[in-house]
Amino acid sequence: MQLTIWNYEGPPHIGAMRIATSMEGVHYVLHAPQGDTYADLLFTMIERQYRRPPVSYTTFQARDLGGDTAELVKNAVAEAFERFKPEAMLVGESCTAELIQDQAGTLAESMNLPTTVVPLELPAYTKKENWGAAETFYQLVRALLAPVIPTPPVARGPVPSDRRPRVNLLGPSLLGFRCQDDIVEISRLLDQLGVDVNVVAPLGASPADLRRIPDADFNVDLYPEVSRTVSAWLERSFGMPRTTAIPMGVNGTRRFLAEVATLAGLDPSRVEACEAAGFMPRDPTRSRLPRYSRSVDSTYLTGKRVFVFGDATHAIAAATVAQEELGFQVVGLGTYSREFARETRAAAEQLGVPALITDDYLEVERAIAAAAPELVLGTQMERHIAKRLGVPCAVISSPLHVQDVPARYSPVYGFEGANVLFDSWVHPLLMGLEEHLLQMFRGDFEFNDAAPPSHLGVATAPQPIEAAQVVVAPGQPTWTAEAEKELRKIPFFVRTKARRNTEHFAVERGVANITVETLYDAKAHFGR
């Protein structure tokens, strides 16, 4: 048994749900008990999806266990097919169903439905969400492409000269970090480079789109946690090369474009050409990050101690950007993606810091506390940790909170992504001048090192002074101790308003003493 409070990843069937829900025309039948439908709200709430995840749950109960749970699976599969007519159907089990061994996937295959049925075996007691997503994506692509796998050898020739090179962008999915904006940014950069996007998958793709994957010249492994299994298979079976660079930060984006240019047979100088295309203030082919980072006001960022934790792809890339492009000092680098432990260790070694490979939230907390960073770049979990430790934090990776899915366009990949990184990592910090003043005048009661950065506003401001400490002006009604106590039971965020309304109400009616009754009379009078 493993004791946990918070988890970086859900079980592997959540990964399968991410693939199904990211796509069109795919339906997932999940053999699962009541309660597992909680997962729907990850998509409807965190991602604000206005459609239900395409998932049917068998909802078996204790009383079914002695009887025929297999029949429940068949019924659910038949009903889901009838109702949704999917182009492809995933069939699998959640943790409890795995224990009762109904072999849901095999059962579904035996029904001979006129659609592609992909049985999923995702071991819930050994594997986790990202592995489940990668495995599901791979199984689905393999099932759809099985009829067209070429006979080896599968090496491809150079890109024909009569058309632009074509790539697939693999890996973006719902609940991934900023994927939707990243693919817009990356597609635009590729277009400028002279490369077309053939298929983006799984996000927004249909099974028919997946069948077109081999039409591309090579694959862009955009989010390796989800795409590496499938891109490796496509390389082996279809001879499709794949990229390794992650286009995060200015340098990362340049390295990525250079790698694409090489694989596409384009002259690498085109990268520079397309980046130098213009000098307009909002030229999308260039990032403002270098100008901002070199600006003298940014000198206070120099050597700021940063702890980085997240999925391996974002954590490694963020650490490099923090060190190279903002001049921070990385004091810790880690990931919960055990599948990418090797890459993370290599990156940490290069930065000269120990690598932390763990999915134990408490261990991450201890490591951050020990490293005493001035900024944490992490996931939603590190936001909890940083808040407790009183350290500023910016989110760079899933798992996500609803706040990490912003309304505005905010990619983290590409040149525009670099701008976003600069803003979102610098914003939580104390500004340079403020930092100086704090060191000069430590005793100021509202401007001291226990107070939050002054530009961060009321959200983190100290609690308003309670009325007990406020001197009552003559003519103002006074509060009885009982009423005062009652008032404190009202949530703090409406307490001030309730106090004001009640006093207003009391003055209007000439009530000198505010009792609990006055409080509620006023509440009833004002309503909401």
Binding site: L3, G10, D36, D40, T44, Q49, R83, T96, T126
Partner: protein, 426 residues
């Protein structure tokens, strides 16, 4: 008992037994583990340890955890393949995990072991483990167990099972007393206590209170008043200890609260005059506050998807006090004993559905096009996407909605989605 002194009995009508639509299929309802989300805040001296899978842990953090920054008084002992394959003895593992928790949280005096779907399927006996661990950690820590699994419980039944686990630890008492059963917000508890005091009813205890250790006694002179309709098992266990259930509608809305208090007042022989002098001003104030919401809600058609078991009393409130029309009242299960005073207050032709086949139910929602659909968060935005106004039901469990002073707050929860729609112009 003085017949003249009885408060006005609540209008009684024989309930003919509306036909209930029973459905079986996909349920879009939480499992009983979710009750920990509020119980771990209510009990300040208890820790809830779910013995389950990564799915259980993920449920807890998705359903509520990501909103809570304080370290929660709950955790999950995740079963791994070592536990399942017999490489590790799950009981030894459990002992180890419990030791870690109690070391880290020395202020904990009650540890709940909470069973889940996988722990039940592999037949891990948590009740025996609880006895073993209680022996080890007694008297500092008491270890209890209950099931919150989705194969046996739905959403609010988790609270019922947790409270039921406390019943054997309640001391015997012959004292004449009232126990209010069901978790209510602290502010509600204070208001209700004040009401009972002014009515001369008491002593009054609340279950759950702030402590899982300081429990009220129970015995033949104990009267029970249910504040929530989902604690049937606990009520039955308390009755087996000699207590008596005062059946009443639930304290939602002015009318419901009056009826609820009246049932207790009758039991305590409170005079009609005294009852009226205490409750009438409160009820009048509540009605005043309700009036503005009634203007908006009256005549609107509401559809309840099954969620928290609150559906029947809330539908009664919306129908009788807000003048809404009831399209369908979905409820996860129908415990007729727990709603015996509610059912007669519903229109005789009302459609009640028990269980769920979510696709068929959504078909009925689409066909009926209600003005407001009360449903879980998994369905709310998708229905909004189809042009239907929704009220997410979990808020009805997480907001103080009981009693006179909250009557208008309760109405406002239903009014807000409609108000918001009328305000937005984008």
């Amino acid at each position: 008992m003085n017949a003249e002194a009885k408060p006005l009995p609540f209008p009684q009508r024989q309930y003919a037994g509306t036909s209930v639509l029973r459905e079986r299929g996909q349920r879009e309802v939480f499992c009983g583990l979710t009750g920990i989300v509020w119980l771990h805040r209510k009990f300040q001296d208890a820790f809830f340890l779910i013995v389950g899978s990564r799915t259980c842990a993920h449920l807890m953090q998705s359903a509520a955890g990501v909103m809570i920054f304080a370290e929660p008084r709950f955790g999950t002992a995740i079963l791994t393949d070592r536990d399942l394959s017999g490489m590790a003895d799950p009981n030894d593992e459990l002992d180890r995990v419990c030791a870690t928790i109690l070391e880290r949280r020395p202020e904990i005096s009650t540890l709940f072991l909470v069973g889940s779907c996988p722990s039940e399927v592999i037949k891990l006996d948590l009740s025996r483990a609880a006895i073993r661990l209680t022996e080890r950690y007694s008297p500092q820590v008491r270890v209890l167990s209950y099931s919150g699994s989705g194969i046996e419980t739905t959403f609010t039944q988790g609270e019922d099972n947790a409270l039921n686990a406390l019943v054997p630890w309640m001391p015997d008492t012959d004292e004449r007393q009232l126990i209010v059963v069901g978790c209510v917000a602290d502010i509600v508890e204070g208001q209700l206590r004040s009401c009972f005091e002014r009515l001369g009813i008491g002593p009054v205890h609340f279950l759950p209170g702030a402590s899982a250790r300081q429990l009220p006694g129970v015995g033949p002179n104990t009267q029970l008043l249910a504040a929530q309709p989902f604690n049937g098992t606990t009520i039955r266990a308390l009755c087996a200890r000699g207590a008596h259930l005062i059946t009443a509608p639930y304290p939602f809305g002015a009318e419901g609260t009056t009826a609820w208090l009246a049932a207790a007042a009758t039991e305590w022989d409170v005079s009609t005059e005294r009852f009226a002098s205490v409750t009438q001003p409160l009820a009048a104030r509540a009605r005043l506050a309700l009036a503005k919401h009634k203007t908006l809600l009256a005549g609107k058609r509401v559809f309840f998807m099954p969620d928290s078991q609150l559906e029947i009393p809330l539908a009664r409130f919306l129908k009788r006090e807000m003048g809404m029309e009831l399209v369908e009242i979905g409820t996860p299960y129908l415990d007729r004993k727990m709603v015996s005073s509610e059912l007669p207050l519903l229109p005789p032709d009302v459609v009640i559905s028990e269980g769920q086949h979510v696709e068929k139910q959504l078909d009925r929602v689409r066909a009926a096009q209600p003005d407001l659909t009360v449903c879980g968060l998994g369905l709310a935005n998708p229905l909004e996407g189809e042009g239907l106004a929704t009220k997410w039901s979990i808020e009805l469990v997480f907001t103080p909605v009981h009693g006179y002073e909250q009557a208008a707050d309760l109405a406002e929860l239903f009014a807000r989605p409609l108000v918001r729609r009328s305000r937005l112009n984008v």
